[in-house]
């Protein structure tokens, strides 16, 4: 009887796992010893990091999307039928259409979502670029902006830890290009006692902010926003006024995870090395939806997926796991509209970003196109 591998989620994590499994299990797929099914909720695959460029008019929207079927190996049985209930013990998934899928191996890759509704006043008063409707609205607001105070307010938890800084630096250059630099003030707020969770990035940012005249307030977690008075209030009992508010809203995991009692906030308890859902031997968790104390980033999803692919292939063929995930994360950082740098780290190697340069910015722009090769498992 064919071994059934079921992947819940059609984002980057699930797609890399599906494609990687097809590459390594070709013989088994041909012999019908294995079949691979993916449950997604959209016929299109979106390149999420591209959203950063939308409010600044630096990318066309169509560049963000490809048909999921063109990104996915044709041997994957792809169903646009979102999961509504996941039973990790029985490895059974119920979907929107009422179908039930059973699996021998389950991969939960359901991603994360924005929750601006959890902060009173945020939906009414703030802009964000972390989804397409938000990025479009932010583009319109920036087009209409003719000077004043812009506050960039970062909340925990969120995906793509570099995007808030990238937004800030790109905004600085954007305002300067439009002749609004002298008529504008940028202020950045961050939840902890420095400007970024990574200490070296925080130190470097402090120097950059001083050079560029960007103000900041740390230990600031949004409690509520008054869209009429244009004031954001913090849990730390501070308040900041604004003319335009850009926020990185707090995130949760997918609703199906909480509906299935798989993890508070939608974050699935996951072993940091095996990437198995805690208490299971054949349910893997990949990407944003893990509860791991690690960056929620595309590169994390990619490196986790590589580990899960090797482990699943080994389980199918040899009945044992192959290797452990070492916690690797790699992030580009756009330090303006023309320069960039990168940082990488894992569970045992601390981060050490290099100085920004034009070459790395161009490489990031190239990666915006090369991403599709990553998703297809070719890069």
């Amino acid at each position: 009887m064919a071994k059934k591998i079921l992947i819940v989620g059609g984002g980057l994590a699930g797609t890399i796992v599906a494609n990687g499994l097809c590459r390594q299990l070709g013989k088994e797929l041909r012999a019908n010893e294995v079949n691979i099914t993916m449950l997604g909720n959209d016929e299109r695959h979106m390149y999420q990091p591209g959203l950063l460029y939308v409010p600044f008019g630096r990318i066309r929207e169509k560049e963000l999307f490809r048909d999921q079927t063109s990104v996915l190996d044709r041997r994957v049985n792809f169903q646009i039928d979102p999961a509504t209930k996941i039973d990790a013990q029985s490895k059974t998934v119920t979907t929107d259409s009422g179908k039930t899928y059973e699996a021998d191996y389950l991969v939960i890759a359901t991603g994360s979502r924005l929750r601006p509704d959890t902060v009173p006043g945020m939906v009414e008063g703030a802009h964000w670029l972390y989804d397409l409707p938000g990025a479009r609205k932010m583009r319109e607001a920036l087009e209409a902006f003719d000077g004043g105070k812009i506050v960039i307010n970062v909340n925990a938890p969120h995906k793509c830890p570099m995007a808030p800084l990238e937004t800030t630096f790109m905004l600085h250059d954007f305002l300067a290009e439009r002749g609004l630099g002298d008529k504008s003030e940028i202020m950045y707020t961050y939840p902890i006692g420095r400007l970024h969770s990574l200490e070296p990035v925080g130190h470097w940012t402090a120097g950059q902010f001083e050079k560029l005249g960007i103000k900041s307030e740390t230990f600031f977690n949004a409690k509520s926003i008054d869209p009429e008075k244009k004031i954001i209030y913090s849990e730390e009992e501070s308040e900041v006024d604004y003319d335009l508010l850009i926020t990185i809203p707090p995130h949760n995991g997918a609703e199906v995870i909480t509906d299935s009692d798989l993890g508070a906030g939608g974050w699935v308890p996951t072993d940091r090395e095996s990437l198995l859902h805690e208490g299971t031997t054949d349910v893997f968790v990949c990407g944003d939806t893990t509860n791991l104390p690690i960056s929620k980033a595309g590169s994390t999803a990619h490196f986790e997926a590589d580990t899960i692919i090797d482990n699943l292939v080994s389980l199918v063929n040899e009945g044992c796991m192959a290797r452990k995930y070492d916690g690797k994360v790699f992030c580009f950082i756009e330090t303006g509209l023309k320069e960039g740098t990168y940082v990488w780290f894992n569970y045992t190697t601390p981060p050490n970003p290099g100085p920004p340069g034009q070459m790395l910015h161009w490489f990031k722009l190239a990666y915006n196109r090369l991403y599709w090769l990553s998703a297809r498992g070719l890069l």
């Binding site: 902890i192 990574l198 707090p250 104390p293």
Partner: protein, 76 residues
């Protein structure tokens, strides 16, 4: 007495132990506790400093070898 949740943030550089705590406190009830495990020496100061600012309670800080155990109670 409330429930206690464990956040194992040993070797966590990003988002780091304090950010994990801030996120974790959003998911528990008033009266619950969160125990953060951290290998980052700065956490033993950063976490109580923030907890004090937002008027939660630092229940205890212990060090076992390279690991700090920091217990925080959600008060509001």
């Amino acid at each position: 007495m409330g429930n206690r949740t464990l956040i194992d943030a040993k070797g966590a550089f990003c988002p780091g132990p304090l950010m994990e705590l801030i996120a974790g406190l959003k998911l528990v009830e008033i009266g619950d506790e969160i125990e953060v495990l951290s290998t980052d020496e700065g956490s033993a100061m950063d976490i109580p400093a923030w907890v004090d600012k937002v008027k939660h309670e630092t229940v205890g800080i212990d060090q076992e070898g390279e690991v700090w155990h920091i217990v925080v109670k959600k008060m509001k």
